[in-house]
């Protein structure tokens, strides 16, 4: 069997079959539930247009997916090192690039599960509004490279770190740096620094695309520049993860 698939399958089984992995998914689902309940119980939020609510939900699912990817990515190599299983893994016939891609397979499964968990929530808030199908499609199109990019970044840091914590903290900081201003609202992005960050920030590119597709019903051609930013982010973080894995010390 292909070593990439073998590693991905083993890791995914741990994510979906272990109590810890399911507890993570339960926590992420609980966050979406609380958000959904806020939408109907809070007077201000209950008056938001359907499309606005769907856009907020898309941003939240993406952020939670990125958080899951950061946690899984931080544990990918440093966790093996902490559990003293890294040497046996490196002694296996799998190349280091295979290990990186196999571990990413686990993150891809994690994101897929997160996506599937998010779909009922999207239906619940958006089925009486507009562009729900587009919302689901763009969540896959923009969310996948963005989330996997965060996974690659965390995995790259994990290869260089001695402990999971050492990889997790800078990965979370990167997530907060890129996702924080976007999630906090447009007023944070109107300053000179904010607008500059908005142009190069892959998180902002994804959120702005969700906004323009779901609320303004714009076409894919208007999103190509933003898609390019997200794909560049994925390529850059993948290269970082690969170079970190090839140069890592046991």
């Amino acid at each position: 069997m292909n070593p990439i698939l073998l590693i991905a399958r083993k890791e995914s089984r741990e994510l979906l079959g272990s109590g810890r992995g399911l507890a993570w998914l339960l926590a992420l689902s609980a966050v979406l539930s609380v958000l959904g309940l806020l939408f109907v119980s809070n007077t201000e939020l209950s008056l938001l247009d359907n499309a606005q609510v769907v856009t907020m939900e898309l941003g939240t699912i993406t952020a939670l997916g990125a958080l899951l990817a950061v946690v899984l990515g931080s544990d990918a190599i440093a966790g093996e090192r902490e559990r003293a299983t890294l040497i046996p893994l490196l002694l296996s016939p799998a190349r280091r690039t295979d290990i990186v891609l196999g571990k990413m397979g686990n993150q891809l499964v994690g994101w897929l599960v997160m996506y599937l968990i998010g779909l009922p929530y999207l239906w619940a808030v958006g089925s009486s509004g507009q562009n729900l199908a587009q919302a689901c499609a763009y969540l896959a199109l923009f969310g996948t490279p963005l989330v996997l990019g965060f996974g690659f970044l965390a995995q790259g840091l994990s290869s260089r770190a001695a402990a999971v914590r050492s990889a997790l903290v800078p990965s979370l900081l990167a997530l907060i740096l890129l996702g924080g201003p976007v999630m906090l609202g447009p007023s944070f992005r109107q300053s000179a620094i904010g607008s500059w960050l908005d142009r190069v920030n892959p998180f902002a590119a994804a959120i702005n695309s969700f906004d323009s597709v779901v609320i303004d019903s714009q076409s894919l051609s208007a999103q190509l520049a933003r898609l390019a930013i997200v794909l560049i982010w994925l390529a850059a973080t993948a290269a970082f993860a690969r170079s970190s894995a090839t140069s890592m010390n046991v």
Binding site: G19, L37, V40, I117, W123, A124
Partner: protein
């Protein structure tokens, strides 16, 4: 005897007229010029009213408040303004003769339908209520989140994953 009997309704009429005359408050109510022509749920409206003392003596302990009723056929009911407005009443200790209180009544449109607002006022010494003319408006609906769909998903998904988690943990305990 017959003359006396005729005198009773005349006296009652005079008493009623004097009671009316003793209520020297006048209230106007008009929509703000900046209000949207066709308001939608979530938008804001503002109503202006002037409460004027048209009598010759000062009035004391004036309380004025806004009330609203829903007028959709079959759904007529008084509305609780809790979510609609934070400014639902004004009070003044004294209102001099020919004095006036100008009040703006802001309102957030929470629900779609046909509504009617009215301003009412009382003074401490009077036994009657004074009201403004009615003002009717229609609020257009807007597609918003429906709780009937949110609640099953919001409670169902964590329960489903929690159930799966409990099943896995039970299986692990039994294996031990």
């Amino acid at each position: 005897m017959r003359r006396r009997l005729l005198l009773v309704p005349v006296l009652l009429l005079c008493a009623a007229m004097s009671a009316l005359a003793a209520e020297p408050l006048e209230i106007t109510l008009a929509p703000d010029g900046a209000n949207p022509a066709s308001p939608q749920m979530g938008e804001h409206l503002q109503f202006g009213s002037v409460i004027r003392n048209t009598g010759g003596v000062s009035l004391h302990g004036i309380v004025a408040w806004i009330s609203m009723v829903r007028m959709d056929p079959g759904q007529e009911q008084p509305m609780d303004l809790e979510d609609w407005s934070a400014h639902k009443a004004v009070t003044r200790a004294t209102l001099a003769p020919d004095g006036a209180i100008t009040v703006n009544w802001p309102m957030r449109l929470i629900q779609a339908g046909d509504f009617r607002v009215v301003i009412s006022a009382v003074t401490r010494d009077s036994q009657r209520i004074v009201t403004s003319p009615f003002l009717d408006f229609h609020v257009r609906p807007k597609p918003v989140v429906e709780s009937s769909r949110i609640l099953p998903v919001a409670f169902g998904m964590p329960l489903l994953i929690g159930g799966l988690l409990a099943f896995r943990m039970r299986g692990r305990i039994l294996r031990r």
